[in-house]
């Protein structure tokens, strides 16, 4: 039965109006109209009458229903020219169909049988003049992504001969449900490499050989024989492939590196960047930072919030999936990192999401996009939509989000998805960050069922993106299934019904249960017990599938009944799929036999370290002459640059307030449209203590030296925290590295330089974090952000995102960036220096400006502490950090926030003397602020800031003109309205 639901009057369909506007803009301005229908296709459902379908699937006041009578032949849009109807491909999660099924089951009062099926689709009717074939192709492409969706397309003249299907194909191709084995002993190097490639194990020859060595060692052979195992099975190879993937094991970050600095003439051997710089930083700070609870060991970093609560924070990337399916990639990124929080310690509740999205230039001409890649605008639109649905439907506010555009992200976008969580400080007398998994505990999987979606996600993201990338790695998330699960978990946690938990992300059960088994030292996993979405999955597929919305738990025998009963009451599927033990082995049962038997020792510690070379050679210094030009025109251009301009229409589609914990919102000022420096939230009702959330990212600065890039990124996150009123002594950060492949090879001849850039980034992070007292609490690295299409390689600029979660003692003292009215003094704090490398100015000019700025880490920290105490004492009226676009942009934004003019004289501001006007206005030197102070507070403010690089530069006034002067002479004057107009050039 085909049920088509549509609005009673097409003119009231806001969705269709939006689609029409977009088609007119992107396809043809002559397109006259669009109408939409939601389509429900049902098969063999006993008791579902047309009347019941209409009742269940439509809104009787606003909508009309056509059952087995096409809307295309009705009066909704009789003059349609084209029909596009989009549905999901077989096996792809369709949240609407899941809900429709639940609704039918509720009405019929029974569970539907497997053969009683529901599909949903969306139908677009388009009234338009004749479009060219290429326009039609673009139009279809704008409606669906063939990797996850399928579509029907019908022209008016074909109607009658061509019909919309009564039911779309739904069968997922079956795999051979057998367990294969491989005689590794007989394989030579070529055969081993071939095996790795064919099975997408993403293991190199050295790794394959160590695997061969393990399986052929006499001890192993004997132990396996005793257990009833012979050759290595596909189940085992896949488990090792997932566990040892770059994605899961961070092999490059853990590699032995010979680093040569040709500039300093030094060589050093680094045993693991991760251990030497990242973990080491926090270790060295541990004693000075009593708020640290759990770092690097769990799914997120955990710190103390107050005596009763802990907060945790994690940022993940979801770059590869987002490149292929932007919507699915982003939504699974969001709900995936939510699960990291839910799976931290004994379980935390997410209370904010934050994201940073890096795309290619939205203005790139179509012909400049390598074929096989999506246009940055399409990527952005899909990712944005995914972030909206992922956050809004989960009821988690999206805050402190950011966008960054750079041509280097045309190959792979960078989609950083982060979540903060909160949990009680202790439960049943023990710290909540601690989890237990003991022998005898049941291994329980909860949430969604297992399908073929997301197979090989972990290994796929460890490879270059090319034409052969597996489409099964792409999937759609269902926030509602996950919300049901997370609500249930919070209840179960508070009742003490489980004692260990982790999420099913990359690598699926093989990773989650494999990691959990490290606590008890062994596990038996029974793949035959795992609930499947459909039949036809090979055992290895069940083990590594990354089907969404699943968590793995350890439940004590005595609690298992209560746990399963509560899950059933909450409509959450929970299944015992194994049991933890202390055997030292992971045993995997499948097809009624032992299908895998791997020693824990080998699986988790058998991976040989990589040996890599890194060679640092500083880029040649180019000519950095500044051309003379009109500073006002330049300011207008920079304000309108996609990296600076307003994204209000995008950001307001995120729910940033659900939970009622928001204190500083994404937009501030008189008209709530000026940018804030980050978010301030107070997560505990009744307490005015809060957290700040900020980010720092500046990849262009790394063109000159990634050491500077690292420090500028950390500084940006930290100075934003200070600008919001944060406590300089209690902030923590996450590091997220997104690198182009830094391993030298035929495909990557400059690998040694890229690796040196990585080394210098780590050194930079280490130094500044020690000087700022800023522990790193968790992080992630993604090392293969290259795309190769038709022989053209696009690699990302080495990118470090620093995400900060800090404390603010009293949110009533939180600070915003907008001027608060006329006649306040304006101060410029921090040193302005002449280095223009990495600036927005450089980007706009399209030529290298050479040296990028460096951070005076010791000096800056002292200044931050002074400023923080001035803000805490209530002496500051506004504070805005200077970042993209420099002083001129920061001041313009503060003025725009207050909608009040000002007069500043920039002669004699701290920093390099004798800078030209362009550098003074637009240099992006770190550690600087625009501050306004009420006159009555000025003396005390200046006293507190004694010794800091501070200059009183002018006053706010009642005009609407923002005047920049030097030695009394105006060098730039612009009105607030002009600023608003330039800044609101939406992307």
């Amino acid at each position: 039965m085909r049920t088509e639901v549509y609005y009673r009057d097409n003119s009231i369909d806001g969705r269709a109006r939006k689609v029409l506007a977009s088609l007119r803009q992107n396809i043809d301005s002559r397109i006259q109209n669009v109408a939409m229908a939601d389509v429900y296709l049902t098969k063999d459902i006993k008791g579902l009458t047309p009347e019941l379908a209409a009742f269940l699937f439509s809104d009787s006041v606003a909508q009309r229903t056509a059952v087995d009578s096409p809307v295309a032949e009705g009066s909704l849009l009789p003059d349609w020219k084209y029909i596009v109807e989009v549905t999901y491909r077989p096996g792809v999660t369709n949240p609407t169909a899941i809900t429709a099924r639940k609704s039918v089951e509720t009405a019929l009062g029974r569970k539907l049988a497997q053969e009683e099926m529901i599909q949903t689709a969306v139908q677009y009717l388009i009234a338009s003049p004749d479009l060219s074939d290429s326009q039609i192709a673009s139009m279809q492409a704008s409606f669906y992504n063939p990797l996850v969706q399928q579509a029907e397309f019908i022209k008016k003249e074909e109607w009658g001969t061509k019909k919309l299907p009564a039911f779309y194909p739904y069968k997922v191709a079956s795999s051979e449900v057998t367990i294969k084995d491989f005689d590794l002993a007989s394989m030579d190097d070529a055969a081993l490499e071939k095996l790795s490639e064919e099975r997408l194990l993403a293991l190199n020859l050295t790794e394959m050989k160590s695997l061969q060595k393990y399986f052929t060692a006499p001890d192993t052979v004997a132990a396996r024989k005793k257990a009833g195992m012979g050759n290595a099975t596909d189940v085992e190879l896949e488990m090792i492939g997932q566990t040892w993937s770059e994605h899961c094991k961070h092999k490059i970050f853990s590699a032995d590196i010979d680093y040569e600095d040709t500039e300093a003439g030094t060589k050093e051997h680094i045993k693991s960047l991760y251990a030497s710089y990242i973990k080491k930083t926090t270790k060295d700070l541990w004693d000075k930072k009593p708020f640290l609870r759990s770092v690097f060991s769990d799914n997120s970093g955990v710190v103390e919030f107050d005596k009763d609560n802990l907060v945790c924070f994690k940022v993940e990337t979801h770059n590869s999936p987002s490149a292929l399916d932007p919507y699915g990639g982003a939504i699974t990124g969001i709900v995936g990192v939510n699960r990291d929080i839910i799976g931290t310690g004994k379980g935390a509740r997410p209370f904010f999401n934050t994201d940073f999205l890096c795309f290619g230039n939205p203005d790139t001409p179509d012909e400049d996009i390598p074929s096989g890649l999506l246009h940055p605008k399409a990527v952005m639109s899909g990712v944005h939509h995914g972030i909206i649905d992922g956050g809004n439907q989960s009821g988690i506010p999206t805050v402190a989000d950011g966008f960054l555009f750079d041509d280097s992200y045309t190959g792979k976008p960078l989609v950083f998805c982060g979540t903060g969580g909160i949990m009680p400080a202790s439960m049943a007398g023990e710290g909540t960050w601690i989890k237990h998994i003991n022998p005898g505990d049941k291994a329980v999987m909860i949430g969604g069922r297992i399908g073929k979606d997301g197979i090989h996600g972990a290994t796929f993201s460890s490879l270059v993106l090319d034409e052969a990338s597996p489409v099964s790695a792409v999937q759609i998330g269902d926030p509602i299934t996950q919300k049901k699960m997370s609500d249930f978990l919070m209840e179960a946690r508070d009742l003490g019904l489980y004692q260990g938990i982790t999420d099913n992300g990359a690598g699926g059960l093989s990773s989650s249960l494999g990691e959990m088994a490290e606590y008890s030292n062994g596990v038996v996993i029974d793949l035959d017990k795992c609930p499947l979405k459909y039949q036809g999955l090979a055992p290895w597929e069940i083990l590594v599938s990354e089907s969404q919305e699943r968590m793995s738990l350890a439940v004590e025998e005595k609690n298992i009944k209560a746990f399963l009963d509560l899950a059933a009451k909450r409509d959450v599927e929970a299944t015992v799929v194994g049991e933890f033990n202390d055997s030292g082995y992971i045993s995997i049962l499948g097809r009624g036999r032992l299908a895998g038997y791997l020693s824990m020792e080998f699986l988790h510690k058998g991976l040989p370290a990589m040996h890599l070379n890194a060679v640092w050679k500083r880029p040649a210094a180019p000519d950095v002459k500044i051309e003379k030009e009109d500073p006002k025109e330049l300011l207008i251009k920079i304000l309108g640059d996609p990296n600076v301009s307003s994204r209000e229409t995008l950001v307001r589609q995120y729910d940033h307030e659900v939970g009622a914990v928001s204190v500083v919102k994404p937009f501030v000022g008189k008209n709530s449209d000026a940018p804030s420096d980050g978010a301030v939230l107070k997560p505990v009702y009744g307490s005015s203590k809060g957290v700040t959330v900020t980010h720092g990212i500046c990849p262009r600065v790394g063109d000159w030296d990634t050491y500077n890039m690292a420090q500028c990124a950390v500084d940006e996150a930290f100075r934003s925290h200070i600008a919001l009123g944060g406590d300089p002594e209690s902030a923590s950060v996450l590091d997220n590295f997104c690198w182009p492949d830094p391993v030298k090879s035929a495909k990557t001849p400059d690998g040694e330089y890229k690796l040196a850039q990585l080394v210098r980034t780590c050194k930079g992070v280490n130094r500044i974090c020690l000087d700022y007292g800023l522990p790193l609490i968790s992080g992630k690295d993604s090392m293969k952000n290259d795309a190769s299409m038709n022989g053209k390689k696009v690699s990302v600029r080495p990118t470090l995102l620093i995400s900060l979660m800090g404390m603010i003692k009293d949110t009533k003292k939180a600070m915003t960036s907008d001027f608060k009215g006329c006649c306040d003094y304006i101060y410029i704090l921090g040193k302005t220096t002449g280095a223009m490398g990495g600036s927005t100015y450089e980007k706009i000019k399209g030529k290298s400006m050479g040296a990028s700025p460096s951070v005076d880490t010791k000096g800056a920290f002292k200044m931050y502490c002074q400023l923080a105490s001035a803000i805490e004492k209530g002496l500051v009226a506004s504070c805005h950090d200077m970042s993209d676009g420099g002083l001129a942009v920061a001041l313009a934004e503060s003025a725009m926030g207050g909608m009040c003019g000002c007069d500043v004289d920039l002669s004699g501001i701290p920093g390099d003397a004798g800078l030209d006007d362009i550098r003074t206005l637009f240099a992006e030197s770190p550690s600087r602020f625009v501050i306004s102070v009420k006159k009555e507070n000025a003396a005390e403010f200046e006293k507190l800031m004694a010794g800091a690089p501070l200059k009183k530069a002018g006053e706010t006034n009642c005009s609407d003109a923002v005047a920049f002067k030097k030695d009394g002479k105006t060098i730039l004057s612009i009105t607030c309205d002009e600023i608003v107009k330039a800044w609101k050039r939406e992307i």
Binding site: I12, G14, R15, R17, S103, S394, I480, V658, K812
Partner: protein, 252 residues
Amino acid sequence: MAKVAILTGYGINADNELKEAFLRAGAKQADRIHINDMIEKPEILDDYQILGFPGGFSFGDHLGSGLVMAHLFKQNLKGVLDKFIAKGKLIIGICNGFQVLVKMGVLPNFDGNWTQEVSLIHNNTGVFENSWLNVRFNPDSPCVWTKGLKEMDIPIRHGEGRFITKDKATLERIKALHLDTVIYNDRNPNGSECDIAGITDTTGRILGLMPHPEAFLTPENHPMWRRQEIKEAAGLALLKNGVDYIDSRNIK
């Protein structure tokens, strides 16, 4: 003393702050109750005098906002809710909760037979929006929740908040009875008929509204709190009216 039951489950997500808001508004007790527990033990509601339908995305709004929750609730709990209303108790539905009440036919419920007469559909912009705006309250409305309130800054967070009526007669009936209780004051964010942001039923004891009073818990939730003095969290005043109504009448 007022005890408040707050519905949860299946994607409802503004339940924690609604509970907190009611407690701050003076409720003696506020409990989040899963819809499945309500269905299993409907008598659970006998102990409460106020029922809150919070915001969120029940069932993802996949088949239309609030629609599936409306069916689920109505099919299982209509009788219980009728009894609840008949006892003079109060109901509030916010955002998704408003959508649920409307689709069940509890609002405006002219004839007492739970027939859907109005709806909340996709915003005319076609997108979700989170902003603060100003609403005013109809002084002639019989609604007990908004008594004495004039206007208020309050956030909206919805993609389907466009209020429409079945036909012109329905709109006229709403106007004539002054059921149009909450009105967008400075701008209409979604194309709602007559700028309607919230309506009450004929008893005045059931209120549904798109804006979120429970999101205005403290002065610092207001976007302008750094620029001007925000004396109180105005959203609580609305909930307090409900709590006071119950307390003053000693409804059990």
